[in-house]
């Protein structure tokens, strides 16, 4: 049992130590310091407190045999066989990680009538694609998909499992990770691997104002999800050498309390995730009508209009156009942020954009730290003039 032990004899001024804990987990009862249930085991009190007062006492539990788990596996996210691009991006990342620890790259695909599609994944340098193909897997349902996923893991014993941060991935990955009682790190923005096969995962934490570096030192497989457009899709390989393996689907795997009654296609719209150019409106915009100005700029550049969280919450734009941690992650070739302050939740959703332009009247706006070009000025002066200039010298 790990816990923080307080050496009371070394405490000079107990009251002064309460502020050490950002979570308010230190409390005074009868003049004596104690740690309450708010403790997050962040160890800040150990690091920042007077020497010797706080001690982390840990009994290290024996971990798994890491050599028994080999391979980097990618879950193939698809809709009726059409593979989501996030899958290709994860295959690219998986190949990078696998090359470093000399492990194979695997894919897992579950669905109905998906064999032909599964085969195309070999073009991206996957060593083996495992397919669970059965009419019972036509729709995503939590239990059957988790059951074939678990079957795959028991069969292959991969060290690392990567899942796209899509609605299906975010519903499925936790279920499978819980079944193996292993760790899952959501929405990773960076993945690296150590020689001992430990996956080093970096993700925004605590509302996104801070990054956390996370590992899973005693458990396998190590599960991680990553959003679309965080990593780069790989090129196809010249002579794909991998193989396709069709896995049997035992009827027991298909048991479910969920019955899909109807699938109603939604009107297809080009999402901001697919856009190559995006103009983002932020709180610097004075009224909803002014969105027209930025929409004009987006149209002129052949792009899409998007917004920050506050604009979406105010109802100025549809939630599908929200960029940020609680919205969409985008990676366009060009993004122009107008009147956007640059809260880190927002930045997390667009920082991989190839070229970032920021327009803000506040020279201290955090967005400028992330912009390749920052314009300190009034968007109401700059944007109309920019539109004129772009039209002038076509």
């Amino acid at each position: 049992m790990a816990s923080i032990v307080i050496h009371h004899e070394k405490v000079a001024d107990a009251g002064a130590l309460l502020v050490l804990c950002p979570f308010g987990a230190l409390e005074l009862s009868g003049g004596k310091l104690s740690v309450n249930a708010a403790c997050k085991m962040c160890r800040l009190c150990v690091k920042k407190g007077p020497p010797g007062v706080f001690e982390l006492v840990e009994t290290v539990a024996a971990g798994v045999d890491k050599d028994a788990w080999r391979g980097v596996a990618v879950y193939v996210d698809h809709a009726d066989g059409v593979v989501h691009n996030v899958t290709l991006e994860l295959i690219g990342k998986a190949r990078e990680l696998a090359a470093q620890i000399k492990h194979p790259v695997y894919c897992l695909m579950a669905g109905s009538d998906v064999l032909a599609k599964a085969k195309t994944l070999l073009d991206y340098g996957v060593d083996e694609v495992f397919v669970y193909d059965d009419p019972g897997l036509r729709h995503f349902r939590a239990e059957p998909y988790a059951a074939v996923f678990a079957d795959f893991i028991n069969h292959v014993k991969p060290s690392i499992v990567l899942v796209g941060g899509t609605p299906v991935g975010r519903s499925l990955a936790p279920r499978v990770a819980a079944r193996f009682r292993s760790g899952l790190t959501a929405d990773c923005t960076s993945l690296e691997v150590k020689d001992n096969t430990d996956l080093i995962q970096i993700r925004p934490a605590f509302g996104g104002n801070i990054m956390a570096k996370i590992h899973t030192p005693r458990h396998r497989p190590q599960f991680a999800t990553a959003r679309y457009k965080i990593f780069s899709a790989p090129e196809k390989v010249g002579n794909p050498g991998g193989k396709l393996t069709r896995m049997p689907v035992a009827p027991g795997l298909l048991a479910s309390g969920i019955e899909v009654l109807e699938v109603k296609p939604k009107a297809k719209e080009i999402g901001i995730e697919e856009a190559e150019v995006i103009v983002v409106a932020g709180r610097g915009l004075k009224k909803p009508e002014d969105l027209g100005l930025l929409r004009q700029l987006a149209d002129r550049l052949g792009g899409q209009l998007a917004g920050t969280r506050s604009l979406i919450e105010a109802g100025w734009l549809d939630a599908k156009r929200q960029i940020g941690l609680s919205g969409r992650t985008v990676k366009p070739k060009l993004i122009i942020a107008a009147g956007v302050s640059g809260a880190i939740q927002f930045v997390a959703g667009m920082k991989s954009s190839e070229y970032i332009v920021a327009i803000n009247s506040d020279p201290k706006a955090p967005i400028f730290k992330n912009a390749h070009v920052g314009l300190v000025g009034d968007l109401y002066e700059i944007v109309p003039e920019l539109l004129r200039q772009l039209d002038d010298k076509k």
Binding site: V168, R175, D187
Partner: protein, 262 residues
């Protein structure tokens, strides 16, 4: 019908500041509130209570102060409240949190339906709901935007998936996670505040749970561990342009043309 809603107390603002030098979070004076996504889960359950005469409970895990969100749920019309609070739950990651909640739910009663919010504003992982369902061995559906029918043995829901809206019938007991804006959450009522001010909240510690092995909870029960927290690194190259509006517009127009965007 028996419904339980999972709620969480989160920092009142996501604008948590970080000391750039030490990497320490500045949380001084930051108030706590109910995770806003949980309000949709609560409203969903309370609407069923109105329509079908269900009993609605809430459960949360946290320090003793987290009782505040249970009280808030009472003010919205929730009948029973449970708080999981024990130092031995401290430092829990998603897995250990979900496991503790699943144990707490088992202890709290037999529920037909477990309702969760989509995610929290401080963790943003959206993983706890599906993990609880796995530990309880019940089906779950995420991304629910509408409850279509609350039947005697199953609930029919509409899910918002990327390509389509899916209608599914899910047998009890089951877990659903509600999308933001799936309904209009009611406001806490002053009348209920007065009526429930003395209502007891059942507090569970590790000793109250069926699985009392401390290694399954808190830091020890957490497969993932935080190695380090640090402020985000800004992009490498950047220029800052200052000047008049017209001058800046001209420079940007030239730059965009140069980069073949226009």
């Amino acid at each position: 019908m028996n419904i339980i809603v999972c709620v969480k107390q989160v920092p009142g603002t996501s604008e948590v500041e970080v000391d750039q030098k030490t990497g320490v979070l500045k949380r001084d004076g930051v108030k706590s509130k109910m995770n806003p996504y949980d309000l949709y889960a609560l409203e969903t359950a309370l609407a069923m209570k109105g329509a079908r005469g269900a009993e609605v409970s809430v459960i949360t895990m946290g320090p003793p102060q987290a009782a505040g969100v249970v009280k808030e749920a009472f003010m919205m019309g929730v009948d029973k409240g449970f708080l999981l609070s024990d130092r031995r739950f401290a430092g829990a990651d998603v897995l250990a949190t979900s496991y503790a909640l699943s144990q707490g739910i088992r202890r709290a009663g037999n529920f037909d339906l477990i309702v969760c919010g989509k995610q929290t504003t401080d963790g943003d992982t959206a993983q706890v709901g599906p993990e609880i369902a796995e530990f309880l061995g019940v089906p779950h559906v995420a991304n629910v935007r509408r409850i279509l029918e609350v039947g005697a043995t199953a609930v029919t829901v509409e899910m918002d998936m990327p390509e389509a809206l899916e209608v599914a019938k899910v047998s009890y007991p089951c877990l659903v996670t509600m999308e933001k804006d799936s309904c209009q959450p009611r406001l806490p009522s002053f009348k209920l505040k007065l009526a429930t001010k003395d209502r007891a909240i059942s507090v569970f510690t590790l000793d109250d749970l069926a699985d009392r092995d401390p290694s399954h909870y808190g830091l020890d029960g957490s497969p993932t561990q935080v190695l380090k927290i640090f402020p985000p690194v800004p992009n490498d190259s950047h220029e800052l342009w200052e000047g008049g509006g017209k001058e800046l517009a001209t420079r940007l127009a030239d730059k965009l043309k140069h980069l073949k965007f226009a």
